[in-house]
Subunit: 340 residues, 2 copies
């Protein structure tokens, strides 16, 4: 079985995004009418999925996708906490409808109602709702709800601990995933995403978070940002900081996906990172949608790069399936309940 | 000949750093006496270099190092413009003394007196002084003088143009190099440095800076941040943004050094980036000073990784010498004047 741990609903029916625009417009001008969330038919959802993700999944040969709301549209820096709570609930409910319409293919991962300066404990109720009521198996945690200003505390700060306690209790991992950038220095998918991945990993090195939470698990997307390319730097910095080796200090709890859009990058990832720490992901339909003129294939068809690796079938099976079932126990339980 | 394009004076005599502490203390409390810059003897400078950089250069087999003040101590976010101007001048003068004491080994690259919110034009006089009076061949340009808050404009903004005009007039490149971080999210050498490299490259993709300045040249250090690892992403994003191919759009003007501290990273760099765009660098004595337990060699002995590459001698000669002489014409002229 092939499980893609990183898919976003970037093709949601138009009314969903239109609601968001009206919602933000009313925040800026409260004299405007409160928008109603639109009626979106099952047919519209089906069509948006079948023409995009499902078509590509079938063409490329995956079976299951961990599916979450569009990351760039989480936009925790827009509006206030109430706006974020409302938007997040609609986004997660829409994902739930997708997972209900396509129960064999899509499994839910939730957005959180974060907002700058708001305690992360305020996101616990939505996590519980999504996991316990909607059957979701993980969440996307934004390490910078200020959208590129990095105005909050690092992920190792104790202010995050109430949320981590709930993650451990529910046995769900988080993907560390920022949203759009409102800092004009950072292009969202070309700088802010990758920087956030790198930043989170270095925060984990500097801290001792996993001594406090040995069962806490994070997936760092986009192949771990810059980390595998600079693996020597990170090993050396951990050594200079008198930390344990990365394998013990961080890599029992941190996993990288395979959203790296060319063969040399995937080759490097698999050369330096233990196979147990790599989860197949494509971020599809996502950041880079074109065809690589050097290969004639889609940049984000990351399965091809893994297929091309000269590694044993058992290793590929871990990356495609086994590791995801281990990191997301609720996914494993759901698949098992389907006899898979 | 082997030219290291990236060395910092991280081992300056104690009095230099002590002055900085007193200077900052007086900024915070102007009732304190104005500190005098200490008398530093030639012997103290010689000793600090011979025991460190020169010893390592000899052991590792390099010939010439482009030498600049300690990057993390530029700290443009500390104090105000006057403080930055004073500190920068002392730092560059100290580098000049090193280049005078060791004229065959060290060639100067200057720090700039940047400060948050201060026009970059205020850094032109120091660039001219260093290049025209002190014989320096390049500069370190900080894309984020706010020290991790990224409060200024991107490098493609027209506010930087007066400085770029002077760089072109003097025919000197800039290394894009941030300083320390005062944002607790970003570890300096583990996150802020690498993020800045990635961010600068993506800014160059988004903009059209090199259409305006076809002769402007930047070295992005630390192997280009995350860029080579995500080369497919950057090619794909440029394509989505309807930009020319990266080779034409950016890579006529942008070069990466080899400060990547393990063999797999260097292998990737050389696999995806054209040989004309890679300059040998070690950042030595710098960010990571230890010995890699996996190899028994120093992490930052980057020459070993290049020596181990199965590429022709002519390619290595470009990386070790030819590219640096092309990117830094004033270095080439200086070496030629020495009959080298």
């Amino acid at each position: 079985m092939i499980i893609d741990c990183h898919g976003h609903y970037t093709t949601a029916p138009e009314g969903h995004d239109l609601f968001r625009e009206l919602q933000k417009a009313r925040f800026r001008d409260p004299s405007k009418p409160r928008p109603d969330y639109p009626q979106i038919s099952d047919e519209a959802i089906r069509a948006s999925i079948e023409a995009n993700q499902l078509r590509l999944i079938r063409e490329r040969g995956a079976d299951v996708t961990l599916f979450s709301p569009r990351a760039s549209a989480m936009a925790h820096h827009e509006g206030d906490e109430a706006l974020s709570q409302e938007w997040t609930r609609f986004c997660n409910d829409l994902i739930h409808r997708v997972t209900t319409l396509f129960p064999e293919t899509f499994v839910g991962v939730c957005q959180l109602p974060q907002a700058p300066g708001v305690p992360i404990a305020h996101s616990i109720a939505e996590l519980e709702r999504c996991v316990l009521e909607l059957g979701f198996v993980g969440c996307n945690l934004n390490p910078d709800p200020s959208g590129g200003h990095w105005a909050g505390p690092p992920l190792t700060d104790r202010s995050w601990y109430p949320f981590y306690e709930k993650m451990v209790e529910l046995d769900v991992p988080a993907m560390v995933h920022v949203s759009g950038s409102c800092n004009h220095n950072f292009h969202a998918t070309g700088a802010h995403y990758i920087n956030a991945d790198t930043t989170a990993f270095m925060q984990f090195i500097e801290g001792d978070l996993f001594a406090d939470f040995p069962n806490l698990r994070f997936v760092i997307p986009h192949g771990g940002g810059a980390v595998p390319y600079h693996w020597g730097r990170y090993r050396g910095l951990a050594d200079m900081m008198k930390k344990p080796r990365l394998r013990e200090h961080v890599m029992r709890n941190v996993f990288f996906d395979t959203c790296v859009y060319h063969q040399p990058g995937i080759d490097l990832l698999f050369r330096v990172i233990d196979i147990e720490n790599i989860l197949f992901g494509s971020e599809m339909v996502g950041a880079v949608r074109g065809v690589d003129p050097e290969t004639g294939q889609f940049f984000d068809d990351t399965k091809r790069y893994i297929d091309a690796l000269p590694i044993p079938a058992e290793a590929k099976a871990k990356v495609f399936e086994g590791n995801a079932r281990r990191v997301y126990p609720r996914l494993d339980a759901r698949l098992a309940s389907q006899g898979r």
